[in-house]
């Protein structure tokens, strides 16, 4: 078993708000992140896949294919978007870094055919990141 990690970046805006809570509770819970006009981050995404090395190619996965899946499923959907309004799953879920990592996993996992997804790591800033391993 070998692990391969591919890194990419996207920039997006979001805000944190739970419509089931009062305006005051939202402000208390989410602070500055509750500003309805949103704010942005330069996110860094690390996707780690695992599998056996193909004896013919010497690859665990064809990086060209992985890059194409990442671009199509994640970057095209998230980059330069207002996540709350433009990404369907965040209409009903708060686009926290935790939920971003889970959403990215759910977008990628069914599309990977050769190697299996091991970890999705999303950096919101250089000092804050979330890992998701597909645990329910």
């Amino acid at each position: 078993m070998i692990y391969l990690t591919r890194k990419c970046e996207f920039s997006a805006s979001h805000y944190y708000h739970n419509p089931e809570l009062s305006a005051e509770e939202n402000r208390r819970l989410f602070g500055k992140c509750n500003n309805p006009n949103g704010h942005g981050h330069n996110y860094t995404l690390e996707v780690t896949v695992k599998g056996d090395i193909d004896p013919k190619s010497g690859f665990v996965v064809d990086l060209k294919d992985l890059k194409e899946i990442l671009n199509r499923e994640v970057i095209d959907a998230f980059d330069h978007r207002f996540l709350n309004r433009e990404v369907p799953e965040f209409a009903a879920q708060i686009p926290t870094t935790e939920n971003l990592a889970i959403s990215i996993w759910q977008r990628l996992e069914p599309k990977l055919q050769v190697a299996r997804l091991h970890r999705v790591r999303v950096y919101e800033t250089v000092d804050l990141f979330v890992d998701y391993y597909g645990e329910r």
Binding site: Y16, N18, E20, L21, L29, F30, G31, Q93, I94, P95, T96, T97, E98, N99, A101, I102, V126, D127, L128, F129, V130, D131, Y132, Y133, E135, R136
Partner: protein, 139 residues
């Protein structure tokens, strides 16, 4: 859905690696430059990883401000800009980054209860880092 959240913090401190039970020569041989009697300092980077189920109401593993305030109060407030050898918790304990990481894990385990403490990672420099997960294997 279980997720792992990691936050990185910074603090600076000085230390001297020296074991009173060993001879001067043995200390110099084991610790080299780090045995300089005047001490020396590092900018430590501390990564704290906590885990838990993502709360559907907040979308979060835990309230980050709570983690920040515990780390600020219990770790940065305690070790930041100190000479580690002079602190009571290092009496009879060599303030290596190994021992510092163990202490930090132990303090956070006792003081932070909003999520499960998975591991601490302490970077002494950009070349040396130490991780402790309470004795468990790292993922």
């Amino acid at each position: 859905m279980k997720a792992y959240l990691t936050r990185r913090y910074w603090f600076s401190a000085s230390h001297r690696l020296h074991n009173d039970e060993l001879s001067e020569e043995e200390n110099r041989s084991i610790y080299g430059k780090c045995n300089n009697p005047h001490g020396h300092g590092h900018n430590y980077a501390l990564e704290v990883t906590v885990s838990g189920h993502v709360n559907p109401s907040t979308g979060m593993v835990c309230d980050l401000t709570e983690l920040d305030s515990v780390v600020e109060r219990e770790i940065i407030g305690c070790y930041g800009h100190e000479h580690l050898n002079a602190l009571p918790q290092f009496e009879g304990v060599v303030p290596t980054s190994e021992n510092l990481a163990l202490q930090i894990f132990d303090i956070l385990k006792r003081k932070f209860h909003a999520a499960h403490l998975e591991r601490v990672k302490l970077d002494e420099t950009s070349q040396n880092s130490f991780q402790f997960a309470g004795g468990r294997e790292l993922r």
